[in-house]
């Protein structure tokens, strides 16, 4: 097995809260290779954004947040690097795009300044060269009249445009890994498809690895190569996009896939639902975390925690009964 670009091993992220310590990410292992898109899906509160931000160590480590495990990026364990080293990696080797482009852009600097900042900081280019690069980046992401746009402020451009600028900033230093946290959730579908196609073409051009965090299974199916499904801080299933959608093994994955309305086929069928809701992190079920909502849960599920098993073709699954409930999905073709 070759070296992965990013390999997360048994990562745990703890937060100290008023109501005690919570573990938002609880021992997850993942990897991303160059040129591939790993999707992380799950509902709100499942820890997908915390995972992303933990990789860049964006939470302040002043006793409130503590990490466990390993995050290996090109052979270096990021959790052991001093913060000065992390600063060199952030925005240079690993970049991140956030969901809300308006609050992630600085309103008092022009977009040009903001694209030039990482270039000058990391690549040590002069202001003139950085300016040239900024215009190139704006061209690359398909913003018309980049020479004028470069001097505009974030409030002067539309939401789709802002997200493009965010992408330009993230890609300015040609990162090896791009972490995109719900990059299109705030956008309209026609703009979403433009942005996703743009990310896709840049991935091919720059041979980046991408970690795409989303709750939209449509986006996953169309734009990703592998998927990790998270539930309450754990990865419960992982596999190739094709096999995961065709033959989801975990009852939670099945529930997710079945509960989205289909675009083809019978409309009059009732949507299947996952009963109940995600429990609070202060109140994690003892056995399998999904057991209280699972239609197949047995006494064993409630008592004992299943391990993450690795099956053939890199599929991983955390469920006691996946063999018996296989094929319970009615995914329309």
């Amino acid at each position: 097995m070759g070296e992965h670009l990013l390999e997360v091993k048994k990562l745990k992220t703890h937060f100290q809260t008023e109501r005690g310590k919570v573990t938002a990410v609880d021992g997850i292992s993942l990897h991303v290779d160059r040129g591939e898109v790993l999707a992380i899906v799950g509902e709100s509160g499942c820890g997908k954004s915390v995972t992303a931000q933990s990789i860049l160590r964006l939470f302040e480590e002043n006793g409130v947040t503590t990490y466990d495990g390993e995050i290996n990026f090109e052979g270096k364990n990021l959790l052991e690097q001093p913060l000065s080293e992390m600063r060199k990696i952030r925005g240079n080797d690993i970049s991140m795009i956030f969901q809300d482009p308006l609050s992630s852009l600085n309103p008092v600097f022009t977009i040009g300044d903001q694209i030039m900042e990482p270039i000058m900081l990391h690549q040590k280019l002069s202001k003139k060269e950085a300016y040239k690069r900024a215009i190139e980046m704006l061209k690359l992401i398909g913003i018309p009249a980049p020479e004028q746009r470069v001097h505009e402020y974030p409030h002067q451009i539309s939401g789709g445009m802002r997200q493009r600028v965010m992408i330009a900033i993230a890609l300015a230093c040609q990162p090896k890994l791009l972490i995109a946290d719900e990059p299109t959730t705030a956008l309209d579908v026609t703009i979403q498809s433009q942005i996703l196609e743009l990310i896709d073409s840049l991935r091919q051009k720059l041979d980046m690895g991408i970690m795409l965090i989303t709750h939209d299974l449509g986006v996953v199916a169309q734009h990703c190569t592998r998927v990790a499904v998270m539930y309450l801080g754990e990865v419960v299933e992982e596999g190739d996009v094709d096999s995961l959608f065709e033959n989801p093994l975990h009852p939670y994955t099945q529930g997710l896939i079945n509960s989205i309305p289909q675009l083809t086929g019978d409309r009059n069928q009732k949507l299947s639902i996952i009963k109940g809701m995600v429990p609070s992190l202060n109140d994690i079920p003892k056995g399998c975390r999904f057991a209280p909502r699972c239609p197949y849960a047995s006494a064993k599920c409630i008592e004992e925690k299943p391990a993450l098993e690795t099956l053939e073709n890199n599929k991983r699954i955390m469920c006691w009964h996946y063999k018996e409930i296989e094929g319970a999905v009615s995914n329309a073709t």
């Binding site: 789709g160 309209d188 199916a221 509960s259 675009l263 073709t333």
Partner: protein, 337 residues
């Protein structure tokens, strides 16, 4: 526009005598834009001459991208913002012509559910009081009867009776949306306008609320105007769908007809850009150029011509008329005239 509406008025029996609950004709809502010295020179044409109708007991889906005016349309029908022009007939009366007092009586039949379940509930009021409030306003029952009715409706929307004594912050998003529904339904309305009721919810919760909406519709014979941007949800729940772009209704048809045979280039692009939740379905995407123009200064002629892959000269000059291509399938596009 008006002409079309008249034509429909003349042959109401052809549609198997389905009763129209709400008939909306030429509705306009312009918001004034003041310049730096406070003089109004421009208008945002949020809703611009929209005509459609709702049959009794159906779900009408209103889709479009942000800023297309779909929410404003819903709010204008309920006169939450006063209309600029147009007529809305409900039970034979033009509700835009009613006085405030007269309209308040009608409001009992016309209710609304909002997108954000967090900001639509008073944080300092117990849930039971919030749900009972519409009954107080409409002077229904005494306090004991109202309380009983609230417990009744709580059960109908799938909440525990003890929710009555709790405060909004104790509930999750999905539960708050149930509370919003309960509050709308407590006065036995005929029409419920749902403004993006499931957009803020996770998929598993979303499907619970959609199923609940369907069950309640069956039980109480409700009519929904379902405003949303998620086409797969709209397809699932709607009987008919209207597609809006920059304040105009560009296409309208029965759900299956619209998905099978979209006529307007915008509808075609919109349908093709939904990512399909099945990796085996490789999509032919129609990628639109650019973004929605500003409604302050909408393009001349057909407002879609700046992004339309099929636009010709006439599209820049003349506003396309709304024509009925096949029964019930309306489209406003020069290519379809």
């Amino acid at each position: 526009m008006q002409h079309e509406a008249v034509k429909w008025e003349a042959q109401p029996e052809s549609e198997s005598a389905r009763k129209k609950l709400l008939d909306i004709k030429g509705i306009k809502k312009y918001f004034p834009v003041k310049n730096s010295i406070g003089v109004t020179k421009k208008f945002v044409k949020a809703v611009d001459d929209v005509t459609f109708y709702l049959y009794e007991g159906e779900t009408y889906g209103l889709v479009g991208e942000s800023g297309c005016g779909k929410s404003t349309l819903g709010r204008t029908i309920l006169r939450l913002t006063e209309p600029t022009e147009g007529e809305v007939f409900f039970g034979g009366k033009d509700i835009f012509k009613l006085s405030d007092l007269e309209f308040r009586k009608e409001r009992q039949d016309l209710q609304m559910v909002f997108q954000d379940p967090y900001s639509s509930l008073n944080p300092r009021k117990r849930i039971g009081d919030s749900i009972a409030e519409p009954m107080v306003i409409h002077k229904i029952g005494n306090s004991h009867e109202r309380m009983e009715r609230v417990f009744d409706i709580l059960e109908k929307v799938g909440l525990h009776p003890e929710a009555y004594y709790r405060f909004p912050h104790e509930f999750s998003g999905g539960q708050r949306q149930r509370i919003g529904l309960a509050r709308a339904l407590v006065v036995n309305p005929k029409l419920v306008i749902c403004d993006e009721p499931v957009s803020a919810l996770d998929v598993s919760i979303q499907s619970q609320i959609i199923n609940l909406l369907e069950d309640l519709q069956e039980e109480f014979g409700l009519t929904y105007l379902f405003v949303a941007h998620d086409l797969s949800v709209v397809r699932h729940i709607s009987d008919r769908i209207g597609v809006m772009y920059l304040g105009k209704m560009v296409e309208e048809a029965e759900t299956d007809e619209l998905f099978a045979n979209p006529l307007h280039p915008y509808t075609q692009a919109l349908l093709s850009s939904i990512p399909h939740p099945n990796p085996k379905m490789k999509q032919e995407k129609i990628n639109l150029k650019g973004e929605i123009p500003s409604p302050i200064n909408p393009p001349s002629g057909c407002t879609f011509h700046t992004r339309c892959p099929l636009a010709t000269d006439i599209c820049k000059q003349a506003v396309p008329k709304r024509v009925e291509k096949t029964p019930g399938h309306f489209v406003a596009c020069h290519l379809q005239q």
